[in-house]
Amino acid sequence: MKEFWSRFSRNRGAVIGVVILAVVIACAIAAPILFPQSPWSMVQRPFLPPFEMEGLPLGTDAVGRDVLSGLLHGARVSLLVGLVSTAVALVIGIPIGALAGYYGGLVDDALMRFTEFFQTIPSFALAIVLLAIFQPTLAYVILAIAIVSWPPVARLVRGEVLSLRNREFVEAATLSGQGDLRIIARQVLPNALPPIIVLASLMVATAILLESALSFLGLGDPNVMSWGYMIGAARTVLRTAWWLSFIPGIAILLTVLALNLIGEGLNDALNPRLRVRTT
C-alpha cells in the first residue's frame, strides 16, 4: 500500500485530481448540512448575479433559486450516479467477460457477439431512447448509463482472463478439484483487478458526463437537482445570465478532470509494464 501510494503520488496530476475530488466529495457531504432547505426553493429575486448579496455568493437562477445550494446538491447526484452506474456496469461486464475468456469457444463467441452489438449501437442515443421510454427516475438514469457502458469492461476482463487462464496457479487450482466458478472468482479475477480499477475510475468520469448530458436534454430525474439540469434550464437565458450556465459547467469539468487524472495516476501505479520501467 505504501509502495502504491509513493508511485501514485509521483504523478503530480493524480495528486491534484485527488485534491479536487476530495473537495467535490466534501461539497456533496456538506450540502444537506449547509443547505438543509431544498435546492428547488425560491430564496431571492431571480437573476441575482454572483457576489452581490451576502449569503448568496453565486446569486440566484431564473426562478430565484440559490445557485450555490444547487451546485452542492448537484455534486451529490453526479457522484452518486457516477459511482453506482459504474458499479452496475461492472456487475454486468465482469461476469460476461470472465465467462467468455474462461470457457472460450462457443460461449466466448456468443457473449462477444452480444457485447459487440452493444458496443456498436450509439451509446448516447440508446441511453436517450431508454430514458424517453421509461420514466427518467434516478434509478433508471443509473441503469441506462450502466447498460451503455459495460461493454468495455467485458472486453477488458475477457482479455485479462484469456491471458491468465493457462497459468500454473490456475492449473494447480483445477487439479486441486476446485470448481470453475470458484477458480474464476478466487484465482483469476483478483489477478485481473488492477486494469479493472483503472477502467472503473475512468468510467465514473464518463458516467458523470453522460448524466449531465442527459439531464441537460431534460432526461434526468425531475425531482433531483443536477448540474446538467442547471445548465439546461439556464440555456434560454444564456445571453442575459451566462454565469448560470457557466458555473455548473465548471463544476462538471473539474470533477471529470479530477477523475481522469486519478485514473491516469492509478494506471501508472498499478500497470506492471510501467513498473518495470521505473524501477
Binding site: Q119, A132, A213, L217, R235, G249, I252, L253
Partner: protein
C-alpha cells in the same frame, strides 16, 4: 479483400436487424398500451388512431407475428408515423439527414486532422513546454461536457464577439444561391462542427502522442536510425505510419459517439438535423421519431464502421489476411 468486405456487410445487416428487434421490444416493454406508446402521449391520439394502430401493427396477434410485421416494415423504410407531426417518420428523417451528415462528417474530419497533427507535434517535442501545453489542453477538453462547450462557444464567438453565426443552418431570408449559399452554410457550420469534434480531437491528440512514443521505441526504428536515415524520414515513414493504426481503430469507435453527440450540438445550435429532431421528439414524447432516429443513427454508425474497417484492411494487410 472482397470477401473481407462481404463478411463485414453481412455482420452489419445482422446488427441492424438486432436493433430493430430491440426497438420492438422497447416499445412493448414501455409502461402502458403499445398503441398509446406509438401514438405518443398527452392527447396526440384519439381512440380511432389507437384502433388503427392496433390493426395496422396487429397488436392483437401473437408476439412473433407482430415482430415480423414491424421488421418487414422497417426494412422497407417504413419507420412508422409521427402523429405529432402528421408525417411518416422516414420522411422526417430523410429531410433532416443531410444536415446531420454534413455536421458529423465535418466534425469527424476536423477532429482527426487537428488531433493527429497536434499529437504528432506533442510527441516530437516530448518533454518541452509545447508538449505540456498540447497535452494539458487535450486533457482539459477531454473532461469538458460537449453541450457546455457548445453553449460557451456560441456565447463567446457569436454573442460577444459576433464573428460567427451561432444559430441555424443558413441565414434566414438571405436567399443566397450557389457559391454564396455554400459559404453561408459553411460559416454556420464552423461552431457546431468544431465543438462536436472537440472531445474527439482531444482523444486523437492523446492517442496519437502515446502511439508515436510507443512505436518510436521499437527496434525497427532503431535500425532505421542506425542506417543513418534522416530523422524527418523516420518520423514520417516509419513511426507515423505505424502509429496511425490504433488511430484508425479509434475512428471507428468515434463514429458511434459522434452521432450521439450530434443530438447535443444540434440542440444548442438549432442545427436542423436528426439530432435536433430527436431532442424535439423527446419533449413531445413522440416515440416513433425517437426510435426512428435511433435506428438511422445506428445505421450511420455501421456505415462509418464499415468504411474504417475497409480503410484498416487497406492500410494493414494483416487484418484482411487474418480472416
Amino acid at each position: 479483400m472482397l470477401r473481407f468486405i462481404a463478411a463485414r456487410l453481412v455482420k452489419a445487416v445482422f446488427i441492424l436487424l438486432a436493433i430493430l428487434v430491440l426497438n420492438f421490444v422497447l416499445i412493448h416493454a414501455a409502461p402502458g398500451d403499445p398503441a398509446a406508446v406509438m401514438a405518443g402521449e398527452a392527447g396526440a391520439s384519439d381512440e380511432k388512431f389507437l384502433q388503427d394502430l392496433r390493426e395496422r401493427f396487429g397488436l392483437d396477434q401473437p408476439f412473433a407475428v407482430q415482430l415480423w410485421t414491424y421488421v418487414k416494415g422497417a426494412v422497407q423504410f417504413d419507420l412508422g408515423f409521427s402523429y405529432r407531426r402528421q408525417m411518416p417518420v422516414a420522411d422526417l428523417i430523410w429531410e433532416r439527414l443531410p444536415a446531420t451528415l454534413l455536421l458529423t462528417a465535418t466534425a469527424f474530419v476536423i477532429s482527426i486532422v487537428f488531433g493527429v497533427i497536434a499529437g504528432v507535434l506533442a510527441a516530437q517535442m516530448q518533454g518541452t513546454w509545447w508538449d505540456t501545453l498540447i497535452s494539458s489542453v487535450a486533457l482539459l477538453f477531454y473532461a469538458t461536457p460537449l453541450f457546455w462547450v457548445a453553449l460557451m462557444a456560441s456565447l463567446l464567438f457569436s454573442v460577444v464577439l459576433g464573428w460567427l453565426p451561432g444559430f441555424g443552418y443558413e441565414t434566414i431570408g438571405a436567399d443566397y444561391t450557389g457559391f454564396a449559399r455554400m459559404l453561408d452554410i459553411g460559416r454556420h457550420l464552423i461552431l457546431p462542427a468544431t465543438t462536436l469534434g472537440l472531445f474527439f480531437t482531444a482523444i486523437y491528440v492523446r492517442m496519437t502522442r502515446a502511439s508515436m512514443l510507443e512505436v518510436s521505441r521499437l527496434d525497427f526504428v532503431k535500425t532505421a536510425r542506425a542506417k543513418g536515415l534522416r530523422n524527418s524520414l523516420i518520423q514520417r515513414r516509419h513511426i507515423l505510419r505505424n502509429a496511425l493504426l490504433p488511430v484508425i481503430t479509434l475512428a471507428g469507435l468515434q463514429a458511434g459517439q459522434i452521432v450521439g453527440g450530434a443530438v447535443l450540438t444540434e440542440t444548442v445550435f438549432a442545427w436542423p438535423g436528426i439530432g435536433r429532431l430527436m431532442f424535439e421528439a423527446i419533449g413531445q414524447r413522440d416515440y416513433n421519431v425517437i426510435l426512428g432516429v435511433f435506428f438511422v443513427s445506428a445505421a450511420m454508425v455501421l456505415l462509418f464502421n464499415l468504411i474504417t474497417d475497409i480503410l484498416y484492411g487497406i492500410v494493414d494487410p494483416r487484418i484482411r489476411l487474418a480472416r
